[in-house]
């Protein structure tokens, strides 16, 4: 009898242990702050009794991670969750390997917590298949106010004012724009000008819907001419420069401004600079009301065992809960994607960003970034970026470039 009781207890213990599932998570957050941020999610999950199997593949843009993910998926053995963002989520949905998170979404009321623009990116055919983690804003202009003061220039709010300020800064012997000549950086400035000069509607038609009439239009020609104008105010060492070296130019006072997303803030903080004192985070000219977003998210694959599915749903739930949203985003330098979070834990540029996020969501000026793989499929993004980078680095005319852009997008569809 005693042996029977012990046996039953042992089986019960083992069964209880087996109730906790395992999540295998593919991501490329391997650098300091990012790794600390992911560790938070791991701890929260382990507190609930599940195990976290980390599957980190280094490589900033995620290229290596995506290749690994594809080979795992083709082999029929995808991880539980993978860091995939934007329209790529739809491509994965097409392959039929993603699970349905609608039960978690309903229980946690995700539809009320997320702006509709964001929720639509996370859904495949109306069902949640991915969970967003954070929000980065693209259309920032990082300014060194001391350089502006020395040159006697005003921080520009429109692209016309930019040209005036840039001329003054150049005359004073500084580099007006710190520029990194990599295709994604050039595309970042390009789409900022599209939004700032063309407005939200034009941005939606050209960068999200990629309509040929919008790409090969007079507005696009004007945008490209402005882009050419901006590149006149960069320095000769720009091609191939990485973004953080360009930020360093602004920090050191060699350059006046840089058009870069909010991850540049980390460079200023690491250099001990204070916002509004040593540097100013201004909205890029013409984009004061607009918010170009880049959202990292985890897609969830279909898993075979019930315990792992429980763990997976727990992970999805935990990601959008306030504790994780606060700790993760403070560590990573982005802002929470969950709306209505108290702003007190975040620094001044982040608070400004959160305010703009809520405001632009209401006014319809919250748009996904094309350059950061949020707006269009990778093939179309690649086609647009090829034309932009070739235009900047050659003497192609704006009219020809606009025509080429429309052609390239149609060929890539």
């Amino acid at each position: 009898m005693k042996r029977l009781v012990i046996a039953v207890l042992l089986v019960g213990l083992v069964a209880f242990g087996a109730m906790a599932g395992e999540v295998e998570v593919l991501h490329w957050w391997t650098s300091g702050g990012e790794a600390a941020a992911v560790a938070v999610l791991k701890q929260l999950l382990e507190k609930e009794g599940h195990t976290w199997k980390d599957f980190a593949v280094a490589g900033g843009g995620g290229d290596a991670a995506m290749t690994v993910l594809k080979s795992r998926a083709v082999a029929g053995n995808p991880p539980t969750a993978a860091q995939v963002k934007g329209p790529q989520i739809q491509l994965w949905g097409d392959e039929g390997v993603l699970t349905n998170l609608d039960d978690v979404a309903k229980a946690e009321k995700w539809d009320t917590l997320l702006p509709k623009v964001v929720a639509d990116v996370m859904k495949y055919q109306g069902h949640y298949v991915a969970v967003p983690v954070n929000v980065h804003r693209i259309n920032w202009m990082w300014v060194n106010p001391a350089v502006f003061k020395k040159a006697g220039a005003k921080i520009p709010t429109t692209w016309a004012e930019f040209e005036t300020a840039a001329k003054k800064i150049q005359a004073a012997g500084f580099i007006p724009v710190a520029w990194g000549g990599e295709p994604w950086q050039e595309a970042t400035v390009f789409e900022t000008i599209v939004a700032g000069l063309g407005g939200t509607d034009f941005y939606k038609q050209s960068m999200i819907e990629a309509k040929p009439e919008a790409l090969n239009s007079a507005t696009m020609v004007k945008v490209l001419e402005t882009l050419r104008m901006v590149t006149q105010y960069t320095d000769k060492g720009a091609p191939g420069r990485s973004w953080n070296l360009a930020t360093a130019m602004v920090i050191k006072g060699e350059a006046a401004m840089q058009f870069m997303g909010d991850w540049a803030k980390g460079e200023f903080t690491a250099a001990g600079k204070k916002p509004d004192v040593d540097y100013i985070a201004a909205r890029a000219p013409g984009t004061a009301k607009q918010f170009l977003f880049n959202i990292d998210s985890f897609i969830m694959f279909k898993v075979k065992s019930a315990e792992n599915e429980k763990a997976q749903k727990a992970m999805a739930r935990l990601i959008l809960q306030p504790d994780f949203q606060k700790v993760f985003n403070v560590n990573k330098g982005s802002i929470p994607v969950r709306m209505g979070m108290p702003a007190s834990a975040f620094d001044i540029p982040a608070q400004l960003s959160m305010k703009d996020f809520a405001a632009s969501s209401k006014s319809g000026d919250l748009v996904p970034s094309m350059a950061h793989e949020m707006a269009v499929f990778p093939a179309i993004r690649g086609a647009i970026m090829d034309v932009v980078t070739n235009y900047i680095n050659s003497d192609l005319s704006a009219k020809d470039a606009a025509a080429q852009m429309a052609n390239a997008v149609q060929a890539a569809m």
Binding site: D63, A73, L91, D235, G240, G382, S394, N407, A411
Partner: protein, 301 residues
């Protein structure tokens, strides 16, 4: 008598078949993993695969798009021609000249040979990174010469769309010329002394001896160098990626980097596969005539 004869025949057959048996696993592996996957790539290039492979046949649509609606592909092909021809020409010229000079029984021949051969020990990635810093206008050669006093000196090839491809040639020649030097030096040492002595007796000058006798007899070395160098040239992915990442814009794009970007980064697997097949066919166009001439030569001999 008959029994031992039979045993001998069996042993012979086993001995004859043993090499084939030993090579069979490797042969099977190559058949599947090299030729099998080349065939798979060819099949994928005839489909409409985007992110993941999809096996529905759509004909040569990808090839048509590649050649008619993709300006970046033509840049890549032109760059391959420019790079390959300059790379092979300069490597052979430099290698030959250095080999001839080293062949003059100079005193520290071993020392010089080591110096010239050393860059070959580096990977293309290291070469690319080093030359990227040297050719950077703000950090490298231009700044150095300007600080020496020549304030008007500029060397902006690396950041100039039209000249960037020549920087790739520069870095690649620096790396591989030593290897060609070693090949030619070995070839020169293999030439029979008596021919040279006979020419000297006939009163020919040294340059004439080199031009008329020695260099023509190095023809096999020329051929091997060209084959090896063109293989390095077509494969040059890492050098381009590190030195220019495709260059200002895409001016130093090569078919290899083009294929990688389109197949893996842009979710256009079939399109990238089509470009890979074109590269493959280009290599075949070089290798098949060479193989044919070699095999025909041995048969006649």
């Amino acid at each position: 008598m008959k029994e031992s004869h039979a045993r001998g025949r069996l042993a012979d057959r086993l001995e004859g078949g043993l090499p084939r048996l030993v090579l069979a696993p490797t042969f099977a592996a190559i058949l599947v993993f090299v030729y099998g996957f080349i065939a798979w790539t060819a099949w994928i290039s005839l489909t409409n695969s985007r992110l993941l492979p999809n096996y529905k046949f759509v004909g040569i649509a990808q090839y048509i798009t590649l050649f008619t609606r993709e300006p970046r592909w033509w840049v890549a092909i032109l760059n391959l021609f420019v790079f390959s021809s300059l790379f092979i020409a300069f490597c052979i010229a430099l290698g030959l000249i250095l080999a001839v000079l080293l062949d003059q029984r100079v005193r520290a021949e071993g020392f010089f040979r080591t110096i010239y051969l050393y860059p070959m020990a580096l990977s293309f990635i290291v070469t690319g990174a080093a030359w990227k810093w040297i050719l950077n206008p703000d950090l490298g050669l231009e700044r150095l010469v300007q600080q020496l006093g020549f304030s008007g000196f500029t060397f902006r090839w690396l950041v100039d769309s039209k000249m960037a491809i020549y920087t790739v040639v520069l870095a690649a020649v620096w790396q591989s010329a030593g290897f060609v030097l070693a090949l030619f030096l070995a070839g020169l040492r293999g030439i029979d002394d008596s021919i040279i002595k006979a020419a000297q007796v006939d009163g020919a000058s040294l340059p004439r001896i080199y031009w008329r006798i020695i260099i023509p007899s190095l023809r096999p070395v020329f051929l091997s160098s060209v084959i090896i160098l063109s293989h390095i040239a077509i494969k040059s992915f890492d050098l381009v990626m590190v030195l220019t990442r495709g260059g200002p814009g895409y001016s130093t794009d090569m078919p290899a980097t083009f294929m990688y970007a389109f197949a893996f980064n842009r979710g256009r697997l079939a399109f990238g596969a089509a470009s890979a097949m074109v590269m493959f066919l280009a290599v075949m166009a070089l290798i098949v005539p060479y193989l044919y001439s070699e095999l025909r030569g041995t048969r006649n001999a």
